[in-house]
Amino acid sequence: MNGMKSIMGLVSCENQKIFRQRKYQVYLAVVALIVIGGAALSMIPGNILSFTMVNYPYTVLSMLGYVFAPLAIFMLSSDFLSGEMASNEIKVLLTRPVARHKVLLAKIISIAGYIGIILVGGFLVSSILSIALTGFSSFSILTALIAYVVGFFPLLTFIAMSAMIASLSKSGTSCFSFCLFAYLGSMVLGLVFSTLSPALFTSYLGMGNMVIGSVIPVSRLLMGFAILTGYGLTFLSVSGLKFVSRDF
């Protein structure tokens, strides 16, 4: 198989594996229910989370970007990278006529695809609910769409980070724990040492919401893209080198 064809074949294998697992079907349903539940909560005046339907797609983007998407990334990396390596399931692919770096790339693409589905679903459900409950005046669909597209970028860096941790981990559980530790550690570090914050990739998780205001902070946005790209490429290189050279 040529390069692109073999990657597409591998991606379809990974997608089949992801969507055949009930856990990942349920996860999508739970996220959708939480988005709908949030809208229902906003109908209660003075609700404890102070949810309102004004700018609801942006609230949902923050929820997905900070909590549900990272959690899904960690779960997927643990199951389909380090978990498969620990259980030897990875041999199903590694003993076939495909290059190792393509196996890794296909897994990363599939995880990105799943996260893409979460974001697209979140955008559609929250937008529809927002329009249905408050009309078109509460937010701009185009701006929300751009915010979701921009918000996807830091999650790609997260996928690269979790792929790197998965390549270095010995089991799915340790991978998940290390991913969580890296995420929370970086967040805490950014909060405690605020001067470090611009250099930490976790500080850009909410990058999607930078495009909401009337004045878009272009330079901050560009710096965010540059930092995330730098981190992403570093994580990808380490995970690629480790995965290709690892003995199974």
Partner: protein
């Protein structure tokens, strides 16, 4: 050109085990047995051949290609079952085979039904593999290996853990593949198994290749593969002492 060419392969683990300076050529149509006790280096050899581990020294050529350099070309016509059958336990047998099929463009959907029939898993093709018995898992592993109709089969103790019937079935499948002219490398610690299936045998012990021989010739000279193996090992022990 040999189908398989192993040249001065060395791979030593931290515990000192592994293989040392192992060279072996396998020609088209041979059913080659790699016979040795547990821990002798059979699986290590096969893992290097299939690109699962990297050798410290030496090189492998499969159909003239080095799997370490170009896995896609080297493994195009190879099917392997190394160490234990690999499959996705949360998928059914049919879904597992569909995953494999996607990696071979020439593989048809009909071949899945055919291979399931061949290994005797048709009746339970829609059950999740995690519910299978050890023998059924081994059959599934074989089915995933044979699906692409590979020219070269690398089978690491394929009857491991099987009952008498299961072992006979696996032997039958291997013989059928041999009749089709496939080249087969099969490892085992059972001399009787090698004797029944193979045309050639390589004896491996403590990571070193002791000897290679045609099975019919050693049967004439020694009566059985087991006698041949024991003679070789005893001679070596005498030399060492």
């Amino acid at each position: 050109m040999s189908t398989v060419e192993l040249s001065h392969l060395t791979k030593l683990y931290k515990n000192g085990k592994g293989i040392k300076d192992l060279s072996l050529n396998i020609e088209k149509g041979q059913v080659y047995g790699l016979l040795g006790p547990n821990g002798s280096g059979k699986t290590t050899t096969m893992k290097i051949m299939t690109g699962l581990i990297h050798s410290d020294e030496g090189h492998v050529k499969i159909f003239g290609e080095d799997p370490g350099e170009d896995m896609e070309k080297a493994m195009q016509h190879v099917g392997c079952l190394v160490e234990s059958p690999s499959y996705y336990p949360y998928l059914t047998a049919k879904q597992n085979l569909e995953i494999v099929k996607r990696l071979y463009p020439d593989c048809s959907q009909a071949s899945i039904g055919h291979i399931l029939e061949q290994v005797g898993l048709s009746a339970c093709q829609n059950e999740k593999a995690e519910k299978y018995s050890l023998g059924m898992k081994q059959r599934l592993g074989l089915a995933m290996t044979l699906l692409s109709e590979p020219e070269l089969l690398i089978l690491d103790e394929p009857s491991n853990g099987l009952d008498i019937e299961g072992m006979a079935d696996v032997r039958g499948i291997i013989r059928e593949q041999a009749k089709k002219g496939r080249t087969i490398l099969i490892s085992s610690h059972l001399a009787g198994e090698i004797e029944q299936i193979c045309t050639d045998v390589a004896i491996i012990r403590e990571g070193t290749l002791l000897s290679t021989e045609k099975v019919p010739k050693l049967l004439t000279d020694y009566g059985s593969v087991e006698n041949y193996y024991l003679t070789l090992v005893n001679n070596r022990k005498e030399l060492a002492s």
